[in-house]
Every structure is written in structure tokens, then in C-alpha cells.
């Protein structure tokens, strides 16, 4: 059984919702990331894992929920407050006593205040100097017209660094960190191979000395041999500089190898969250099981006899009586389920 010992909490996501019109890309997701760990986020394409990462670095304004970085609220959504106001107004129409009315009016006023605060947070708070992102496609994410030096230094310059010497020094430092050499600074992205380009992307993200890096499928576009180089590099960076990494990927073998804790997402919901060994040893949610059964392994005999478990929302759950919520089955192992399922899972774990 995995021990539950965490460092300081670095990032906390509370009831994050991100809606695009009627599409609920991320729906009520909560989790924490601790200092120095690698948090893996897996799920099929379109399940909202990338959106979660992008919401955290505020590429989108979130619809509802809060995001805290080192205890400070950095992003907030207003939808939940708006909903509360609408409900209170509805009640106000039918409220009988004066006391009730007063209470409801106060509620509305409070919520309006919250909205103001949230909007302020949304506009003013910045996370980019503390949280950086590495993108999936190393070709598309580097501007072909800029030299490597310009690409890497851009963040510094935007943040007000003017001294050319300091910039150069920092760029060289970042290049060396990721295993490139100074001479590379003057070249253009097209002169590099795929793995080297991804290194440039990593150098760009580490130059600001971020607390955390969000790596959005950093190795999916690379060859196997190069993949190993990049994963080893990220591992070194984390060990040497204590950078916390949120690792978004769909290659489960890589996530398993790289992450301390893993969250599994399905259609905008977080369905299971556990330490990586625990998750792979005792997958509880049927979707996780189906996901694990689909991993291709370099072993022809197992592969030829493999039975993929198919996840069917309707067949696997009975939520007609009680809807599911996130529950802790064993310490550190959360599953999205209802009471009846929780009992069942607890029994499985006890065995």
C-alpha cells in the first residue's frame, strides 16, 4: 500500500469548471499538487486534460471554481456565484417572512461581492512566472523566424529584463541545463532535430525558474529513442532543481514510469486519483480498468491473448438512486463513485 506523505502543497484546484458554450470541457475537478512531485494526468483525447492544464496557466478564464498557487488565489470563476444569486432571487419571490427576505438579500449582496473579488483575481493575478508550459508539438510551438536565443529570452524580456549580458548568461545557462550548447543560441529551430527542438521548448520554460512546469504531451510527437532522452532530461531537471511537474499524456507506460501520483479523467470529470503504484496495482473505477487494459506492451505472447475491457457508462454504474461524488477509498486513493460502489471498492481494497 502506498504511503501518504506529501510535501508542501503547491497548487490546489477546487471545483474547476471550464465550459465552452454548452460543452463542459472540465466539470467540477478538484486536486492538489505537492512540491517536487510529478502529477500525471491521463485520459483519452477530448476528456479535458489539456484544458485543465491550460486553465491553470490562465490561457482561459475559468468558468467556475478556484485555483490556488502557494496558498494564494490566482484564478477564480464566477458561475457558481451567479447561480447562487439566481437561486436566491427565485426564493426571494416566494419568501414569506421579513427575516428570510433579509437573509436572502444579504446572500445576494455577499455573492456579488465575491464576483467582484473573483473578477479582480482573474484580471490582476499572474502565474506565468511561476508556472510554465511545454507544448506537445515542438515544431509548431517554436516561431521559425526567431533564433533560439530570441525564443528562450522572450519571457525574460517581457518581464522587464533589459541588460543584454544578463539575458545571454541566462539563456546559456538554460541551454546547458537541457543538454544543448552555447553555439546553438544563434541558430533557427529548423536546424534542429525533433528531440533538440523539444529541448529548446524545455529551455524556454525553465529560464524563468518556475516552481512548476505543465508538460502537455511533451513526448508524443517524438521517436522512441528521443522520447527516452527527453524523459530522462525532465527527470534530471526535477531532481536537480526540485521543479514540480504536471505531466499530461496518453501514453500510460510513460506516465507510470514518470509520475508519483496519477489522475484519470473521463469526459471532463476526474474519476480516479491515486499514487501511481497504487493506481496500477488496484485500479477501482471501471474506466481506469478499461484504460489500463488497453496499454500496448512489448510482449507478443501477452498481447495476442489480451482482452480489452470495454467501459460502458450505463452498464458499469447504476446512478439512478444516488449520484456519484469523489470519495476517498483508502488514504490517498480517491474514486468518483456513490455510496454503494464505495462500499464495494473498500471491500476489494481490504482484500
Amino acid at each position: 500500500m502506498a504511503e501518504v506523505k506529501h510535501g508542501e502543497e503547491l497548487l490546489r484546484v477546487e471545483h474547476l469548471c471550464q465550459y465552452f458554450g454548452r460543452t463542459k470541457a472540465v466539470d467540477d475537478v478538484s486536486f492538489s499538487i505537492y512540491k517536487g512531485e510529478v502529477f500525471g494526468l491521463v485520459g483519452e483525447s477530448g476528456c479535458g486534460k489539456t484544458t485543465t492544464g491550460r486553465s491553470i496557466i490562465k490561457i482561459y478564464d475559468i468558468t467556475s471554481g478556484n485555483i490556488f498557487l502557494e496558498g494564494k488565489r490566482v484564478a477564480a470563476g464566477v458561475m457558481s456565484y451567479k447561480k447562487a444569486i439566481a437561486e436566491a432571487k427565485q426564493k426571494l419571490k416566494t419568501a414569506a417572512t421579513a427575516e428570510e427576505k433579509a437573509a436572502l438579500k444579504k446572500e445576494i449582496a455577499d455573492n456579488r461581492e465575491e464576483i467582484k473579488k473573483a473578477l479582480h483575481v482573474q484580471k490582476k493575478e499572474k502565474v506565468v512566472d511561476k508556472v510554465q508550459m511545454i507544448f506537445q508539438d515542438p515544431i509548431a510551438s517554436l516561431d521559425p523566424r526567431m533564433t533560439v536565443r530570441e525564443i528562450i529570452a522572450e519571457g525574460l524580456i517581457i518581464n522587464g529584463e533589459k541588460d543584454k549580458k544578463v539575458i545571454d548568461e541566462k539563456v546559456f545557462e538554460a541551454l546547458e541545463k537541457v543538454g544543448l550548447v552555447r553555439e546553438h543560441a544563434g541558430r533557427y529551430p529548423h536546424e534542429f532535430s525533433g528531440g533538440q527542438r523539444q529541448r529548446i521548448g524545455i529551455a524556454r520554460s525553465v529560464i524563468m525558474h518556475p516552481e512548476m512546469i505543465i508538460a502537455d504531451e511533451p513526448v508524443s510527437a517524438l521517436d522512441v529513442s528521443i522520447q527516452a532522452q527527453v524523459i530522462n532530461l525532465l527527470n534530471d531537471l526535477r531532481k536537480e532543481y526540485g521543479i514540480t511537474i504536471m505531466f499530461i499524456a496518453h501514453d500510460l507506460s510513460v506516465v507510470k514510469y514518470f509520475s508519483d501520483r496519477i489522475g484519470v479523467m473521463y469526459y471532463g470529470k476526474l474519476v480516479e486519483l491515486a499514487s501511481s503504484d497504487e493506481l496500477f496495482a488496484h485500479p477501482l473505477h471501471p474506466y481506469t480498468k478499461s484504460l489500463l487494459s488497453a496499454i500496448p506492451l512489448p510482449d507478443p505472447d501477452t498481447e495476442k491473448n489480451r482482452k480489452r475491457i470495454v467501459y460502458d457508462k450505463l452498464k458499469d454504474h447504476d446512478y439512478s438512486k444516488q449520484g456519484p461524488t469523489m470519495r476517498e477509498i483508502v488514504p490517498g486513493h480517491f474514486v468518483y463513485c456513490n455510496d454503494e460502489e464505495a462500499e464495494r471498492y473498500k471491500k476489494i481494497c481490504a482484500e
Partner: protein, 723 residues
């Protein structure tokens, strides 16, 4: 084993601004029928180039320096565009790496999926009919010539065979169509019942109505006869109850009566598609000769027996006897012609040793081609590749020689100028770090040798045939030829209507993981996300029903669940349609699932080749080791062994082993000489000097040894997966 596609000594280069890139350097591959061959390697190793060469879609700056790709009596490298049209997409189909650009933006998805099926179906039927007729006519002539029977008798027999063969297949086709529809209907009903139980909203009236409509329109008398009444009763009851059915907002359940009625209908349908299938080939003949008998109401088994006896007594035994005689006669006749052809070939061969002139060479090639084509036995079903490709092969080799013999004055001028420049620089004591691209990039001696190789190859083939002639089993070949007719006849009657094509497309869309396929069938490509579009493209490639499917990293951009789904789908189709697959990928996990045989490519060469278990459980080449140890599996804890550096620049291919620079086990000889292919077992070969008897004995790296041991232990424990 039945080879369906052979790649022999293929060499491909690309002419670029900075020089000639040697992309594929002398590789040979065999693809067996119904098997999957996986080509594994990094990007730039030449795997995609090989597959594109097979389809004849190489980029304009490519040069095919040598080699052959043999398929169905053709050399795909040498046939003209007109012939290639018949092969590409039709017989050999491909799923591309980047499918996003291969959809037409202004045509609805549904039409794009069904387009190929409908167009191809028509052409296929026509072609099958032509083949059927021409081979049957040849057989008839051979029967008469061999004096097996009189001309009238042969005419009558072949006529009867034609009629009943087609008739039988028509029966069978109708039956199969109904059977498939029936299975679908049952699945729809079961799904409906399940969803209703879970109180899901659905369009019950539409679904049930659709099923009733389909089951009311069965065409095969064999299929419905026994169940006609039952089906009518059950349908009637459902129809009556359905008109009263009114779902509310919270209650989508069916109600007891309707549910029971639907269950009853489902059980009838299920019984229908579980009934034993009659043997239509026999029954076709029986029905032809006894048109007035009511064959539908008879018990299937009894009818099968009776029809078999009737067929054997009245037709088949006699027909087979004549066929055997005819086949033997024809083979003997063409054996004599083959012997003559060998003589002609040997006479002409000596000419190509000395200096040759273009006019003379072409005339001689024509003489030889005439002799060889005349010696092909048209009644041989299996096409002898060499003889069929002789025409294109020899002409191509001759043309190529004379095309390169002519000096290109422009190139020559450039070469002279550049050499002069280099000399000048050298004279001034400067270092020159670039090479002069030679004016003539092709070796003329080699090209000349290619010509005699083509001739020699055929001579060897024919003398081999001559030697083994006594061993040919004509009793087997007569069955083979009847099977051939059956196959063609089934293709002749295989008519796909627009609605059938639509149903197939929707089923396939569902299989590749597109939800609500009925709605999406009428959407345009821009309404789909990237992953969805890729699935559509895969669906399109699969509907074309090819013989060989080339998959160029089809699932690289998809997530695991969909990847697993699509691999399963490809595997299913492979079994169902006896597809042969070339699967190109860099993901070894995917390969383990799919491949029967594996070829590992590096820098344009095959470094290791073997069956899946050979390569995964007993890897020998350091590059295979590196590939295996650089990917984590679920139990990996140690640091990954990444391969240092990048693949070599193929403008200047290394003299020795291309992998030597990145190989920590490299020896001195690896830098000096190309390692040959060492045979490890009958199926397993690898090109590394480590396998030379004089090389130091090296153990497989620990990380791989451990993993293999772990995998074997796991497999012995009953194949438990993922803990």
C-alpha cells in the same frame, strides 16, 4: 508459404540540393498472405519510403536505383501508370500518417466513405465476370484439345457449370445479406431493451420501425422460409403495441407488454440467424436440374446430402476428370514451349556480355519477350511472378541502361566546374569540407548486369520448373481451379446497393469509435475533431476491401483506448478478409500486438528480421536492444537507456555499420565494413558483427534480460495482464 508481395534488393535515393540522400539501401522483404509484417524504425530510417514505393507514390525527386517489388505477376516498380491505377487503392490500400489532409472538405463524410465501395463494386463485378468467362473458355478449349471429350460435350458441361455456379452464388449472396441484416436487427433490439431498462431517452418508434421494415423485406427464400409465420406474428404484435407507446419526460421504459413483444421478436430473429447455412454450391446444381421441386421446405442437412449425391453423380466427377486431363494437357503443352523459350533466352544472353547497342538490344528484348509470353500456361491459377514481369523487367532494365549511358551535358559541365574549383582550392592549401556530386550517379556495369540478371533469373526458374514437372499434383490443381471459379462467381453476384453501403459505413464508423454515426454520416469533415477525422480516414481505407493494407503509423496520434480499438478492428478485418498487412510504426508495444513478422530498419537498411517472438524474446542487434530498452514498460523503475546522438546523415552514408556511432558495443570492424545478414535461426536474421563467430560473446543488456524474464514469468502464470 504463400507470398503475396516480395520486395527484392530495393534501393531508393532522393536528389536534393545538398546531394543524393540514400534513403533505402538494398532491402528485401516478403509479405505472406494473411500475415502482418511490421516495419519498425525511427523517423528517417526509410520505412515510409519503402511503403510509398510499393504504392508508386514516391516524391518527384526520388530515384529508384534498383530492385523489384513483385505483386500478382507484376513488378510494381516498372509497370506504367495505367496499370498502377488498377492496383493502387484497389488491391493495395494505405492508411496515411497524416490523414487530416486526405478528406474532401466539400463532400459529406457518408458519401466519402461509401464512394469507393460503390464505384469499386461495379468494376469488380465486371472484372470478375471477364476472368470467369475467359478462364472457362480456355478450359473448354483445353478439354477439347486434350481429347478428354467431344466438343459438344465440353460446351455443354462448361455451360452448365457456368449457369449453376452463378445461380448458387446468387442464392448464397442473398442469404448472406439477410443474415447480416438479421444480426444487426437483433443487436439493435437488444440495445433498445437495455437502454429502456436503464430509463434512457431514445427514439423507440424509429428504431423498432426500422427493424420491422428490414425484417419484412428479406429476400432469400432459404433464409425466411421456416420462420415466415412466426416472424409475421411477432412483427404484427409489436406494431400494434408500438402505436400505443407514449414515453414521458421521466419515464422512458417500455412497459411490460411491449417489452415482452419485442423480446419475442428478438428471439425469432436470433433463431433465424443461428440456423444452419445450406451448402449453396450443391443446391445450385440441384435447383437447376429440378426446377419444379420445393427445395426450401426440406431439412437443410438432408438437402445438403441429397444435393451432394446428385451433383457428384450427374456432373461433378465427370467434370473434374475432364478438367484434370485438360490441365495436364495444357501444362505439358506449355512445358515444351518453356523449353523452347529457355533456348531462346540462352542464345540471346551472350549478347549482353559485350558492348551493346540500343537498337539491337531492344530488338533482342522483343524476341525474348515474345518467346516468354508465349510460354505462360494460362490455366495456371497461381501466377508465376518472374515470367509475368519479364516483359516490363527486361524493357525497363534496357531502357534504364541507355538512359544513363547518355551523358547529361549540363551535369557534366557542373561536375567539371566544381572539380576545377576543388582542385584550385586544394592547390592553394585550403581544406575542402564538401564533396563534389559526381556527374553520373549510376554505375553502368551494375545496370548491365541487371539486364542479364533478369534473363538468368527466368532461365533458372524455368529449368527448376522442368525438373519438378513430374511432381505437380494435378488432382490438387483441379480443385484449385474449381475454387477459383467459385471465388470469381461469388464476386460476380456480390452486388452492393446504396443502402447496404450506408449500413456498412455506419457500422464501420461505430467500430472505429465514432459516437452517433447516423447523425455524423451526414456531416462535413470540418465538423469533426482531428482524432475523429483520422478514424474516418481509417474507415475509408478499410471499406475499399483491399488485398494488402499498408498502415503508416495509423494510431500514433490517437489515445490508448482508441488505439487499442482500431488495432483490434484491423486485426478482425485481417482475419475476416484474409488481409495481408504492412504495419509501419516506431511503437514496439503496438508491434507486439499486431505483427507476425518484424523487420527493424535503421538508416535505410534492415538490421534485424524475424518473427515477433524472435525479435521480442531474443533480440540480437544492438539497435533492437536500444529500442527495447528506451521505452518504459509498467514495471520499469531504473533510468531509461536513451540512444545518444541522432541517426547519420544519409547524404554521406557511413562505410561500416550505420549504427556504430551510437552503439556502445561497437567494435573496430563496425566502422570499416558493412556487416552481412547472419542467420540465427530459420526465421531470424540480424546484421551485426557481434554474431560473427570470431566476435566476443556479449550478453543481452540486463534491462532487456530482466524484462524478458518478467514477461515469461507473467505469461506462465496464466497470462495475467496489468496486475
Amino acid at each position: 508459404m504463400d507470398k503475396i508481395l516480395e520486395v527484392k534488393n530495393l534501393k531508393i535515393s532522393f536528389r536534393t540540393n545538398s546531394g543524393i540522400v540514400r534513403a533505402v539501401r538494398d532491402i528485401s522483404l516478403d509479405l505472406e498472405k494473411g500475415k502482418t509484417l511490421a516495419i519498425v524504425g525511427e523517423s528517417g530510417s526509410g520505412k515510409s519510403v519503402t511503403s510509398k514505393a510499393i504504392l508508386g507514390i514516391l516524391a518527384g525527386n526520388s530515384i529508384v536505383e534498383g530492385g523489384e517489388i513483385l505483386y500478382d505477376g507484376m513488378d510494381l516498380l516498372k509497370i506504367d501508370e495505367e496499370q498502377m491505377h488498377k492496383v493502387r487503392g484497389d488491391k493495395i490500400s494505405m492508411i496515411f500518417q497524416d490523414p487530416l489532409s486526405s478528406l474532401n472538405p466539400i463532400v459529406k463524410i457518408g458519401n466519402q466513405i461509401t464512394e469507393a465501395t460503390l464505384l469499386k463494386n461495379k468494376a469488380n463485378r465486371r472484372e470478375a465476370r471477364n476472368q470467369f468467362n475467359s478462364v472457362l473458355a480456355l478450359l473448354r478449349q483445353a478439354m477439347v484439345d486434350s481429347k478428354a471429350c467431344s466438343e459438344e460435350k465440353a460446351k455443354e458441361m462448361c455451360g452448365t457449370f457456368d449457369t449453376f455456379c452463378i445461380k448458387a452464388n446468387k442464392f448464397e449472396h442473398l442469404y448472406n445479406v439477410d443474415d447480416e441484416v438479421c444480426e444487426d436487427c437483433s443487436a439493435h433490439l437488444k440495445d433498445l431493451l437495455f437502454k429502456a431498462e436503464k430509463n434512457q431517452k431514445q427514439n423507440v418508434k424509429y428504431i423498432v420501425g426500422d427493424v420491422l421494415n428490414k425484417t419484412g423485406n428479406f429476400k432469400s427464400e432459404f433464409f425466411v422460409h421456416e420462420y415466415k409465420e412466426k416472424l409475421a406474428n411477432a412483427s404484427k404484435e409489436v406494431k400494434e403495441l408500438l402505436s400505443d407507446y407514449k414515453p414521458t419526460a421521466d419515464n422512458n421504459r417500455l412497459g411490460e407488454k411491449l417489452e415482452n413483444a419485442i423480446k419475442e421478436l428478438d428471439s425469432v430473429i436470433e433463431a433465424m440467424y443461428n440456423q444452419t447455412k445450406p451448402n449453396f454450391f450443391r443446391i445450385g446444381f440441384y435447383a437447376l436440374k429440378n426446377p419444379n421441386e420445393d427445395i426450401y421446405s426440406e431439412d437443410t442437412e438432408a438437402l445438403n446430402e441429397k444435393a451432394l449425391k446428385f451433383l457428384d453423380e450427374n456432373f461433378m466427377l465427370e467434370f473434374l476428370e475432364y478438367t484434370e486431363k485438360a490441365l495436364k494437357y495444357s501444362a505439358e503443352k506449355y512445358l515444351a514451349k518453356k523449353r523452347e523459350a529457355v533456348k531462346v533466352l540462352q542464345e540471346q544472353l551472350s549478347y549482353f556480355d559485350g558492348t551493346i547497342s540500343e537498337k539491337e538490344s531492344k530488338a533482342r528484348a522483343k524476341v525474348m519477350t515474345g518467346a516468354v509470353l508465349g510460354a505462360i500456361d494460362p490455366l495456371e491459377i497461381k501466377k508465376d511472378n518472374r515470367a509475368y514481369t519479364f516483359d516490363t523487367g527486361i524493357n525497363d532494365a534496357v531502357n534504364r541502361y541507355f538512359r544513363f549511358e547518355k551523358q547529361n551535358p549540363k551535369e557534366q559541365a557542373r561536375f567539371d566546374k566544381q572539380t576545377a574549383k576543388v582542385e584550385k582550392l586544394k592547390a592553394r592549401g585550403k581544406k575542402v569540407d564538401w564533396k563534389v556530386v559526381p556527374a553520373n550517379i549510376v554505375d553502368l556495369d551494375l545496370l548491365k548486369k541487371n539486364i542479364s540478371n533478369v534473363i538468368n533469373g527466368l532461365i533458372d526458374d524455368y529449368s527448376e520448373f522442368d525438373k519438378n514437372f513430374e511432381k505437380i499434383a494435378f488432382s490438387e490443381r483441379k480443385v484449385e481451379i474449381v475454387d477459383f471459379f467459385k471465388d470469381r462467381a461469388s464476386k460476380v453476384v456480390y452486388k452492393i446497393t446504396r443502402s447496404m453501403a450506408k449500413e456498412n459505413a455506419i457500422k464501420l464508423m461505430e467500430e472505429v469509435g465514432i459516437s452517433e454515426p447516423r447523425m455524423r454520416y451526414n456531416q462535413y469533415p470540418f465538423e469533426f475533431s482531428g482524432g475523429m477525422r483520422q478514424r474516418i480516414v481509417i474507415a475509408i481505407a478499410l471499406t475499399a476491401d483491399p488485398e494488402i493494407l499498408i498502415c503508416d503509423e495509423p494510431t500514433t496520434a490517437l489515445d490508448v483506448t482508441i488505439q487499442a480499438q482500431i488495432l483490434e478492428l484491423i486485426n478482425d478485418l485481417k482475419k475476416k478478409r484474409n488481409l495481408s498487412i504492412i504495419f509501419i510504426t516506431h511503437d514496439l508495444g503496438v508491434v507486439a500486438n499486431m505483427a507476425d513478422d518484424i523487420a527493424v530498419m535503421y538508416a535505410g537498411k534492415i538490421v534485424e528480421q524475424g518473427t515477433a517472438s524472435d525479435v521480442f524474446y531474443d533480440p540480437r542487434h544492438p539497435y533492437t536492444w536500444a529500442l527495447l530498452s528506451s521505452m518504459p514498460d509498467l514495471d520499469t523503475k531504473e533510468k531509461l537507456e536513451s540512444i545518444p546522438g541522432t541517426p547519420p546523415n544519409m547524404i554521406y552514408p557511413p562505410v561500416g555499420d550505420a549504427f556504430a556511432d551510437r552503439n556502445k558495443y561497437a567494435m573496430q570492424i563496425d566502422y570499416e565494413m558493412q556487416p552481412p545478414m547472419f542467420e540465427i535461426s530459420e526465421t531470424h536474421r540480424a546484421a551485426t558483427w557481434l554474431l560473427h563467430p570470431d566476435a566476443p560473446k556479449l550478453e543481452t543488456p540486463a534491462i532487456i534480460r530482466d524484462r524478458i524474464a518478467r514477461m515469461k514469468a507473467k505469461n506462465n502464470n496464466g497470462g495475467e495482464i496489468n496486475g
